[in-house]
C-alpha cells in the first residue's frame, strides 16, 4: 500500500488535482482511498457525484455508535472516499480534529478492510500546527507532494511545507516526493518553481496546464477524467499519475 499526502497553499487546486489523480490511478486498476483532511469536508465532492458523505468528526460529534461504513462513501471508479471534517467553525481545534479523525480510521480498521493500493491524503493549506502534520507522520504517508503555482504566496507556502519536512527528517516522517506545478500562467513560472525545487534538492515531477475544463468539470460535479476523458487536461492528470508512481518506485 502506497500512502501519499498532498499539501499546498489554500486554493491552489489540491482537491481537484488529488481527485483527478485518484481517478487516473483507478483507471490503471488500482484500488484508491482518498481522505480529505480539511474541516470543509469537500475534498471528494467530485468523486461522489453529489452523494452525501458524513464526515468522521460529524459522526464523532453525534456521540452515537457508528461503523466504519458510516465514515465512507464509495465513489466513481470504486474510489473509497473519506472526509475528516472538523470542529464547529470558529471554535475547537481543526488540527486536533484531523488527528482524531485519522485515529478513528485506523482504530476502525479502514486500511485493513478496504485494502487500498494507494491512499491519498488531501491536506488543508499549510502545515500550520501538529494536527496538519499528522498525514506526513510515521505510519501515515510515505511521500509528500507539494502543489504550487508560480505566484509568490503559493511558493512561500510550498517552501514552508518543504521546510517542515526538512525539520522533521530525524523523526521518520514522509519524504518529499516533489513539487507539482499547477499553472496560473504568471511570469517566469517554470523558473521560479524550478528554483524552489532545487532549494530543497527535489524536483518538479509534473506541470499541469491552466485549463477551463477544470472549472467546467467542477460545474458538472465531476472530475476532468470523468467529464472530459479524452481531453488534454485529462491526459495531463494521467501523466501526473504516471510520474507519481515513478517517483514512488524510485523512493
Amino acid at each position: 500500500m502506497k500512502k501519499l499526502a498532498f499539501y499546498g497553499k489554500g486554493g491552489i487546486g489540491k482537491s481537484t488535482t488529488v481527485s483527478n489523480l485518484a481517478v487516473a490511478f483507478a483507471e490503471r486498476g488500482l484500488k484508491v482511498m482518498q481522505i480529505g483532511c480539511d474541516p470543509k469536508a469537500d475534498s471528494t465532492l467530485a468523486l461522489r457525484g453529489g452523494a452525501p458523505l458524513t464526515s468522521v468528526l460529524d459522526l464523532v460529534r453525534a456521540k452515537q455508535p457508528f461503523d466504519l461504513q458510516d465514515m465512507v462513501r464509495i465513489g466513481y471508479k470504486d474510489i473509497v472516499c473519506v472526509e475528516a471534517g472538523g470542529p464547529t467553525p470558529g471554535s475547537g481545534c481543526a488540527g486536533r480534529g484531523i488527528i482524531t479523525a485519522l485515529d478513528k480510521l485506523r482504530d476502525y480498521g479502514a486500511y485493513e478492510t478496504y485494502h487500498p493500493d494507494i491512499v491519498l491524503y488531501d491536506v488543508l493549506g499549510d502545515v500550520v500546527c501538529g494536527g496538519f502534520s499528522m498525514p506526513m507522520r510515521g505510519g501515515y504517508a510515505d511521500q509528500v507532494y507539494i502543489l504550487t503555482s508560480g505566484e509568490n504566496m503559493a511558493i512561500h507556502a510550498a517552501a514552508n511545507i518543504a521546510m517542515a519536512l526538512e525539520n522533521f527528517k530525524d523523526r521518520g516522517y514522509a519524504k518529499l516526493g516533489g513539487f507539482i506545478l499547477n499553472r496560473r500562467n504568471v511570469k517566469n513560472e517554470d523558473a521560479k518553481v524550478q528554483e524552489l525545487s532545487e532549494d530543497f534538492k527535489s524536483q518538479v515531477i509534473a506541470s499541469l496546464p491552466h485549463s477551463e475544463l477544470v472549472t467546467d468539470a467542477e460545474e458538472l460535479g465531476k472530475t476532468v477524467l470523468e467529464a472530459f476523458p479524452n481531453s488534454d487536461m485529462a491526459e495531463a492528470y494521467r501523466n501526473l499519475a504516471a510520474a507519481v508512481l515513478r517517483e514512488d518506485a524510485v523512493c
Binding site: 505510519g139 530525524d170 523523526r171 516522517y173
Partner: protein
C-alpha cells in the same frame, strides 16, 4: 450535565495509572506536562514513595514551549537524565496540553531511543480517562516488549496481573495475594507489578496461567495469550471465593481456555445489594461475602467484564438513579453522599477513588473476614 460529578470525586486518571503500573520496574517515566499531573500522582495516587525510589519525572512543559511546539527541551532533558540514571526503559506519558497540540510522541520516542540506546516507548494517555486504560496499556506494553519467548511452560505456575496500590493499597496486599495463591499449591511466577523486577516479569511467558486480579491486568493478559497462548482467569481470590478462582485456574491450565468465574457469582438483581468500583475486585468481594448483588462499574475499558451481574455506570447522576433502591452498598466512603436514605454503606476505601483520605483505614482485601462483613451487611 448528566455525566458530571457534583458530589463525588472522579477516579484516578490515566497518567497516574501508567506511573503506578511502572513504578517498581526500574524504568524512567516522563509525564509531559507543566506539573499538575505530577502533583496529583505524588500527592494522592502513590503510596510507595516512603519505601521505594522510582524515576518518575515531569517535563515542566512551559506555556511558550507548548505554543511554539518546542519538543527539543523534552527530548534533551529526557536524554540527559537517562544517560545519567541508566533506566531499564523510558516511557513518555501524554497529558492534556501536548495531547491537544498533537505532539508526536512516537517520533520523539524514536529520537530519544536513538540517542540513548535505551528502549523508549509512549503510552497514549491524555489525562481525560481513568487509571484502568493507563495502567492497562502500560502493562500491555511491558508484555509486548520485554517478555521473552519461553522454552516451555512451568506447570502450576501463575502470573498475577493488575496489582498496583490503586486497587490494592493496604500495606501487605501484594504479599497476601501471593501467599493466598501459593497456599493453594500454585507457584507465583511474577506479580505485575508489585514486588517483582522487570527481569522477573520478562520470564512471564513460562507461566501456565495468568490470574487477572483487576481490570488493569486484562490487556497484558490478552497480549500474553496472543504471544504465548497462556490462558487467563479473571477473578480475585478473596475469602471463600478463592476456591472457585483456583478451580478456574486449574481448568484454564487443563483446557487452555480463559475462565471467568465471576459469571458464576450469585445474582439477584432486586436484592438491593450493590458494590461499586473496579469490577473484578468488587465482584470478587460480593462473591466472597456470598451475597447476591450487582457490581456498578464506573471505570473505562471494562466492557468485556460487564454482564448481568456487572453493569456500567457513567456519571454521578446515573449512579444515583441505579442506587435509588439500594439497601446495602459496598463501596468507598466517599460514595456515602449519593446513597439513598436508609441504605447501609459497608466501607471499603479505594485508593483510586479517595486517594489518601482513608489510607489509615485501608483494608487488605485478602485478609478481610468476609463472613463478618456479610453479617455487617445483614438486612
Amino acid at each position: 450535565m448528566n455525566t458530571s460529578y457534583r458530589i463525588i470525586p472522579c477516579y484516578t486518571g490515566d497518567v497516574s495509572g501508567v506511573c503506578s503500573a511502572l513504578f517498581e520496574l526500574g524504568g524512567m517515566v516522563v509525564i509531559h506536562d507543566p506539573s499538575g499531573c505530577n502533583s496529583t500522582y505524588n500527592t494522592h495516587d502513590e503510596t510507595r514513595w516512603y519505601d521505594h525510589d522510582s524515576l518518575i519525572f515531569i517535563s515542566g512543559l512551559a506555556e511558550i514551549d507548548a505554543v511554539f511546539g518546542n519538543d527539543q527541551k523534552l527530548i534533551d532533558d529526557t536524554v540527559d537524565a537517562a544517560l545519567n540514571l541508566h533506566p531499564k526503559f523510558i516511557t513518555l506519558v501524554n497529558s492534556p496540553i501536548p495531547y491537544l497540540n498533537g505532539t508526536d510522541f512516537e517520533a520523539i520516542c524514536r529520537i530519544i531511543e536513538s540517542r540513548t540506546c535505551i528502549p523508549t516507548f509512549y503510552i497514549p494517555t491524555n489525562g481525560m480517562h481513568d487509571y484502568v486504560p493507563g495502567a492497562g496499556a502500560a502493562l500491555a506494553e511491558i508484555a509486548k516488549r520485554f517478555v521473552s519467548v519461553p522454552e516451555g511452560k512451568k506447570p502450576g505456575s501463575v502470573n498475577l496481573l493488575g496489582v498496583t496500590p490503586l486497587d490494592f493499597a493496604a500495606d501487605g496486599s501484594a504479599e497476601s495475594l501471593r501467599e493466598t495463591v501459593e497456599r493453594a499449591g500454585f507457584s507465583v511466577h511474577s506479580c505485575w507489578a508489585m514486588g517483582d523486577s522487570l527481569e522477573t516479569l520478562s520470564h512471564s511467558g513460562e507461566a501456565a496461567v495468568n490470574l487477572v486480579v483487576s481490570a488493569m491486568g486484562l490487556p497484558a493478559a490478552k497480549v500474553l495469550r496472543e504471544r504465548f497462548g497462556t490462558p487467563y482467569v479473571a477473578g480475585t481470590p478473596l475469602g471463600s471465593f478463592s476456591e472457585t478462582v483456583f478451580a478456574s485456574m486449574r481448568r484454564a491450565t487443563e483446557t487452555g481456555e480463559n475462565q471467568f468465574p465471576l459469571l458464576e457469582r450469585l445474582n439477584q438483581t432486586d436484592s438491593g445489594i450493590f458494590a461499586i468500583g473496579e469490577p473484578i475486585t468488587m465482584g470478587s468481594v460480593l462473591a466472597a461475602m456470598e451475597l447476591p448483588g450487582t457490581v456498578l462499574c464506573p471505570l473505562e475499558h471494562c466492557e468485556s467484564l460487564l454482564n448481568k451481574n456487572t453493569l456500567a455506570v457513567v456519571g454521578e447522576e446515573e449512579a444515583e438513579t441505579m442506587l435509588k433502591n439500594a439497601k446495602v452498598v459496598i463501596a468507598d466512603p466517599l460514595y456515602r453522599p449519593i446513597l439513598p436514605k436508609g441504605a447501609k454503606l459497608i466501607e471499603l476505601p479505594h485508593e483510586a477513588f479517595s486517594g489518601r483520605c482513608f489510607r489509615k483505614t485501608m483494608k487488605n482485601l485478602f485478609t478481610i473476614d468476609y463472613d463478618a462483613l456479610r453479617k455487617e451487611a445483614s438486612l
